[in-house]
Amino acid sequence: MATVVEPLRPNIASADVQLPAVRDYEQVDREISGTLRPSAGWFAALGLAVALFLWGAGTWIYQVYWGLGNAGYNPPVMWGVYIITFVFWVGIGHAGTLISAILYLFRAGFRTTIYRCAEAMTVFAVMTAGLFPIIHIGRPWKFFWLVPYPNWRLLWPNFKSPLVWDVFAILTYLTVSSTFLYVGLIPDIAVLRDRETNPVRKRILAVLSLGWRNSEPEWRHFTRMYLFLAAFSTPLVLSVHSVVSFDFAMALSPGWHATIFPPYFVAGAIFSGIGMVFTIIIPIRKFFRLQHYVTINHLDAAAKLCLFTSMVVGCAYMIEFWVAWYSGNPYEQDYFWNRVFGQWWWAAWIMLTCNVIFPLSLFSQKLRRNPAWLFILSIFINLGMWYERFVIIVPSLSHEFEPWQWSGYLPSWVDTSILVGSFGWFFMWFLLFIKQLPVVAIAEVKEIVPPRLRSHRRGHGIDTAGHHEPYGTETPGEFD
């Protein structure tokens, strides 16, 4: 096999050049549309994801037939793995819109190359989360009763109920985030359409691109639309997990009835989402050879955000303990003692270690700039954030006010299989996405690549052909 000598591709930004190894628009088109060719590794990963999904779906059919009793529920712990996993996936879905909308409004440059990936992750994570309330209800074929519409006597659902708010919040979030993903894709689909040679694919891409032509009026309205969608999505991100937290905070159980829940949940959601972004983007940049797009600087900046949200989450944990002590309420105090040093100590310490202690390593610049460490850490964050929801839900239900209500909880093979199946479902969609549509936003990358200028106005590291000056071994920075 002939070895191809790769050109030297620095992936460290300097003050004025964000993507030093990306030199012109043609290169952006070529390299990003080049990632769409399916490979054997991709088929293997997709096969694994589909197998896990089928395992989960089969188990669900078993559960529908034999009843929810197989899911490890025992009174009083009637919320278990399904609700934990619902909150987990909704949380994962938060980083995408944070990165694409909030960081867009803040003009954070490092979002450009990772936001498409994060946004697709959001849509698929919310799609996954949406399955769990349906799996959790005893008669899933009646799931449409969740949708707010009146019965034949015009009796509507109770709009004062957190569960109805949840339906509104999650459906709005799913609609707006998938719209945001799709409209952002329109110009990129137009690029793919014009490069495509297969007539069938070209026709499909032409329909999906809605006849986008890159004309200036189109761009003018597009950029405005993007700005306003970002402005709507920003409070939406913060509201969705606040509403999810109301499912708990509106109840009177110890550990749940707390006003800190909305900010605590939002910070946790963003933290877990950034963890999942690392889990996804680090293998993608390696296998798609996009290290010079998703540079070390971008990972470094995202790691700082991860560290910050980890500290907010850690602070929220401590405030919970403090409020329990300060309240003088013996039920609350006993509950928190039981959570950390009693029955559920192992879950609480998994949570504290993964979410608060391990991320402190990101104070080290060396580790922030080490993709392998970020990947390992992200796995711990995913684990820790799943356990955070475990620690919020199960100890409260198993240790309420009266000792006769106290009990334990152990998931069964049924709910564990459905949890595993949900990862299969999520990665199945994600893997299908990354080979059909560009995983890095072509148009937005072109915005940060300096455009060609005529020769008499050269300068700023741009040579007479309109390219960046080549970078050599003497260029300061790191190479990979």
């Binding site: 509507w156 014009d194 509201s239």
Partner: protein, 167 residues
């Protein structure tokens, strides 16, 4: 009859200079194509601000009103007084109002973009070229036949790599 010239440029400053010269020479109808939105071109064209914001405002206000209205109306329809409390409690209904504001506002923003930029387009666009989605900037000038020669010379003078007639 639409009649005009398509010019492709490699450089952004050449495109901007050509736009300004066309405006100065009183060519009224031209469309610029650009691989990515650039402020330089926006400044050269000096186009009016996009009307999408009106759609956003109206959609958001309609959604907010609808969200509050549906929750208040359904409460008033079955007026069960519990504990002497108000039948319509606007504080929790703010959540419904907010979610509907975001939903309707966001969708009407997208609709505003579609309407203003005339997409979806199902026909071929005269004056567009596949190279404009890749790396070249383009100007499609529409002018009476007797002025096309002048426009062509002007565009070539600013460094257009290709100028062709289009109708």
């Amino acid at each position: 009859m639409r009649r005009g010239l398509v010019a492709a440029f490699r450089e952004i400053d050449a495109t901007c200079d050509a736009i300004e010269a066309l405006k100065k020479a009183n060519f009224k109808q031209f469309t610029v194509y650009t691989p990515a939105p650039r402020h330089e071109i926006e400044h050269a064209l000096n186009a009016p601000p996009s009307k999408v914001r009106l759609f956003t405002l109206i959609g958001g206000m309609l959604g907010l009103t609808f969200g509050y209205w549906v929750a208040i109306w359904t409460s008033e329809y079955w007026p069960l007084v519990v504990g002497g409390k108000a039948i319509a409690s606007w504080i929790p209904y703010t959540i419904i109002g907010f979610e509907m504001m975001v939903l309707v506002g966001a969708l009407s923003t997208v609709a505003g973009m579609f309407i203003n930029s005339r997409i979806p387009k199902i026909t071929m666009t005269v004056g567009a070229d596949t190279r404009f989605t890749s790396s070249d900037y383009g100007i499609f000038v529409e002018a009476p036949p007797e002025r096309l020669k002048e426009a062509e010379e002007m565009l070539r003078g600013f460094g257009a790599v290709e100028v062709r007639g289009e109708r």
